[in-house]
Symmetry: C2
Subunit: 225 residues, 2 copies
Amino acid sequence: MAGYDASKFERPSVTVDVILFTVKDDDLKVLLVKRNVDPFKDMWAIPGGFVKIDESLEDAAKRELLEETNVRDVYLEQLYTFGDPKRDPRTRVITAAYFALVNAEKFKLKASTDVKDVNWFSMFDLPELAFDHKKIVEYALKRLRWKMEYTTVAFSLLPEKFTLTQLQKIYEIILDKSLDKRNFRKKIKALELVKEVQEFQEEVAHRPARLYTKNKKIGEIVEIF
Amino acid sequence: MAGYDASKFERPSVTVDVILFTVKDDDLKVLLVKRNVDPFKDMWAIPGGFVKIDESLEDAAKRELLEETNVRDVYLEQLYTFGDPKRDPRTRVITAAYFALVNAEKFKLKASTDVKDVNWFSMFDLPELAFDHKKIVEYALKRLRWKMEYTTVAFSLLPEKFTLTQLQKIYEIILDKSLDKRNFRKKIKALELVKEVQEFQEEVAHRPARLYTKNKKIGEIVEIF
DNA sequence: CCAAAAGTGTTAGTGATACACCCATGT
DNA sequence: ACATGGGTGTATCACTAACACTTTTGG
């Protein structure tokens, strides 16, 4: 922190971008918005926007997500700040990227004024993205995979009540590898991450699975080293 | 990313701050600078400063470290971006904090124009710090400890040639716990992190220890999960 | 010969992996 | 009765943790 008067400096703009993941239709999906303005008009991009002068970065991330996509109440954490001077062709823009997870069945997407369209895309079949958003999304995937292995973030992708098979599938889809059912259940139970509910799946053409909820103070994210 | 003209917005200032750690005199030290200007004139702070309009965040971090403290060639990674609207009393300042490690014996500290004084402080006995720097330093310590357990960052705190006891001490000081010598050496050797050198310690009043170097392509940081 | 740190192996316990069959339900 | 996923236990392997004595050097 130097003895400069901040106002002497030509200032970069600051944005937040939010990489929102969900698991849906047996696939890992990212939320993208279609840009309605230049630069990169009509191209898909990560939702985001400028940080207001009196809001925190996290508040900005929540606000953008709500405004552009109608999504609220997500697991949210800061991912990384991308500040390459050339990442925006117009001017210097530094972006604090956030990383978010939701259970997709809880809201309806809707577009907004700045945005022509909003949609889920398979992480493994993305369209061309605006700015350096490809790089950002790839970085987010790395972080997501890491978090899956060492924390309980997976639970934020589930509905209130879920089966152990649903939970396991989330791990399998994101980590892109199959897991042993018995070992998986053994571990989940040993860590006491879930609590039995006195209910079972309904309307399935096979033996209905027991339902579980997250156990109390996993509330949010537990490191499971 | 929204359809706004960036120039319409009141822009926050962006700084980088660098938390530089070293291990010295059997203690974990942080580099602090004494501010020569308001706000917080004469108070100790993490080195840092404004990001220039055409330099990347990482370049800014390197530049500030060199300018304010004469330190170069460090291990450097982005830590977190702090953006609370009230963290700077003057105006909105968002700071991208970087986290750095050096072997302290390789350079001479020197103060600069913006800075009255530069010095190493024990991480466990810090003076009062400017801004929200206490919080930032604590966050950096958490990250450092985490990195010690799961990566090979420790090696960036060592000189070219070192003994296994020196290496072990670094772990012990930072993690603040003692480790078993035999198990420690077994693990380091099993992971092939070090290479024997045909030299020994000199001028010590006991059996001289064998010297080692970092093994080839640990070059930088290896995750040791 | 004393002080100081260097160096070295074995055992027990814990957690991870591999693996196959019966069960409950709907059609 | 059959198809579909649900549900369960044991044995092996790998890694971690605990632990004590001998060696080499300088003073």
